[in-house]
């Protein structure tokens, strides 16, 4: 049970993608609206999703970062800036659907997918 070595990774035709560049602030238009769900409890802590929509485009996404446990904080300290920038770039090209681990009805109410559905995107 160990991570494949670099050689093994190459042999298995895997690609390892490093962290992306830091997030770029996105200007919010005056006509934008926000949609958000209630706080959702996840393994790493409590998160609340909020999206900002201008026309039919998501121009901003924010969430409270999990802070419940020190391990969460250390993971998110690195992962949040990286993947928030990924998310904004994704939205600028518009997505149709979100794939994630099984959403229960309750969790869905607080999810990004639900925010997108409410915004009719």
């Amino acid at each position: 049970m160990k991570t494949p070595s670099r050689t093994l990774t190459a042999a298995l035709a895997l690609t390892t993608v490093g962290p992306a560049v830091a997030a770029t602030p996105v200007a919010i238009a005056a006509s934008s609206k926000t949609y958000h769900g209630s706080a959702v409890h996840m393994q790493w802590g409590t998160v609340q999703v909020k999206i900002t929509v201008s026309g039919r485009r998501v121009t901003g996404i924010s969430a409270t970062a999990p802070t419940e446990r020190s391990r969460s904080a250390s993971i998110n300290g690195r992962a949040v800036p990286v993947l928030r920038s990924e998310a904004l770039r994704a939205q600028s090209s518009r997505i149709n659907s979100v794939s994630g681990a099984t959403l229960t009805s309750r969790a869905f109410d607080s999810s990004l997918q639900y925010a997108l559905t409410k915004a009719h995107l």
């Binding site: 990924e86 090209s93 229960t104």
Partner: protein
């Protein structure tokens, strides 16, 4: 939520509907012009029928009756026997990591890990039989797509980031494929490594793309349960592509996955 009327977006050809069945939101998007409401109703009715037959949360389901010894396997519905047989073959294919028996909380068998994708594939056939060729079905995060998206071209599917609810780790452009993600980031949706009886380590989420949604779903569950071996196992699977996010923040993809990747 269960009593809320379907959400229909105005100003778009086709149809967008959300209903809560099988204990989760199921979103059907149809891009074909003027789909019949009755067709979509039948797809949701089928999902509800599957839930009544398979749910371990319903005491009167065939699975619950099997587990209580009130129903013999030979007397079960052919669909139940077919799904359980597929669970057994998937268990072999995945070196025991997809285990419909180990997943069960109260003993017996729990094929839930396959039933969701299988039921969505059935719903897709209902839509196709009525002539629909461009649609997406998202059942609690597992997605089956056919044909083209509303904007034309492949459906753009965002892969939920496993740590932060607001983030997407990648976007894939897919058509005529299933996309399934397994992860431990939602409370109550735990995957256990059946060989150790504990949650896997070293992996935050596994996304699998392939022709069959139920198989992709089972592979994602199995690979996630493998923990640090997830990526290596996925690389050896024919016909299915994968993205594994590890707890040291690496995003590892099979070569085939990158062909689908838009972002």
């Amino acid at each position: 939520m269960s009593t809320a009327p379907p959400i229909t977006s105005a100003g778009r050809a086709g149809l967008h509907r959300v209903e809560h069945v099988m204990g989760m939101p199921v979103i059907i998007d149809v891009c074909d012009a003027n789909p019949r409401t009755e067709t979509i109703d039948r797809a949701y009715a089928w999902l509800d029928l599957v839930d009544r037959m398979f749910s371990t949360y319903r005491p009167d389901s065939e699975i619950s009756r099997l587990n209580r010894g009130e129903l013999a396997l030979a007397d079960a519905d052919p669909a139940v026997r077919s799904v359980l047989a597929r669970c057994a073959s998937l268990r072999t294919e995945t070196d025991g990591y997809f285990d419909a028996e180990a997943c069960s909380v109260g003993g017996g068998v729990d094929p839930s890990g396959l039933v969701k994708g299988w039921s969505v594939a059935g719903a897709a056939r209902i839509l196709e039989r009525d002539g629909l060729g461009n649609f997406s079905i998202n059942a609690g995060g597992d997605i089956l797509v056919r044909g083209e998206a509303p904007q034309g071209g492949p459906w753009r599917v965002g892969i939920q980031h496993p740590v932060v609810g607001d983030a997407i780790a990648a976007v894939v452009g897919v058509t005529d494929l299933g996309v399934a993600t397994s992860g431990a980031y939602e409370r109550g949706a735990h995957v256990i490594d059946p060989h150790r009886g504990e949650p896997p380590e070293g992996v935050l989420s596994v996304t699998v793309i392939g022709r069959s949604l139920p198989t992709a779903d089972a592979y994602a569950t199995a690979a996630f349960a493998m923990g640090r071996d997830a990526a290596a196992w996925c690389a050896g699977v024919d016909g299915y592509d994968a993205m594994v996010i590890t707890d040291d923040e690496r995003v590892v993809t099979t070569a085939g996955f990158d062909r689908h990747r838009v972002r």
